[in-house]
Symmetry: C2
């Protein structure tokens, strides 16, 4: 998955070894798994050469993706720009995020 951090998310991730992001849409810290239970235990934190990108190596509990896949990158794209689902769905998103259930 790809997400954003602010300084507070960065510090809390390093201190707790649980992935914490900053939700730009909600404007607040996003402790991954606090709603879904699908937390990420951080085994390694890496930064890139110009220190503006962070790579977390994590043990993923359940599905990282809100669509129920382990990874958000569950689709491949072919040379005609068509997307194909390449992974197995692990959980029903409606069972994890009941608030988003369709009426």
């Amino acid at each position: 998955m790809m997400a954003w951090m602010d300084e507070s998310a960065w510090k809390e991730t390093l201190a707790t070894k649980r992935a914490v992001y900053f939700s730009r849409s909600r404007g607040k810290l996003w402790r991954k798994g606090e709603t879904s239970g699908h937390q990420q235990i951080v085994s390694e934190v890496r930064i890139d050469c110009d220190a503006d990108s962070i790579l977390l190596l994590v043990e993923q509990t359940g599905a990282a993706c809100h669509k129920g896949y382990e990874s958000c990158f569950f689709r491949t794209v072919d040379s005609e720009q068509k997307a194909h689902i390449a992974d197995e769905r692990l959980v029903d998103p409606e069972s994890v995020y009941p608030a988003t259930k369709k009426q």
Copy 2:
């Protein structure tokens, strides 16, 4: 490594199976390896759930990083926010990018 694409970079990457990015600092397409020879042969293109992040799985020729490492993420960060080089340098950057050689 992490980099940016515009539509043109995206289409050329899919068509040629060579990683092409958009250099925001240079304001133009960045055909990875055109200066260094360290190109990336794309074996798989993935997109994330909201289709605004791209994950390329590549065969990396030489070093992806301009600092001479296979990956730009060659440093780990510990719980005190200290960075440590964790990988072996593959090439001398000055031999790859002579234009950046110190005077």
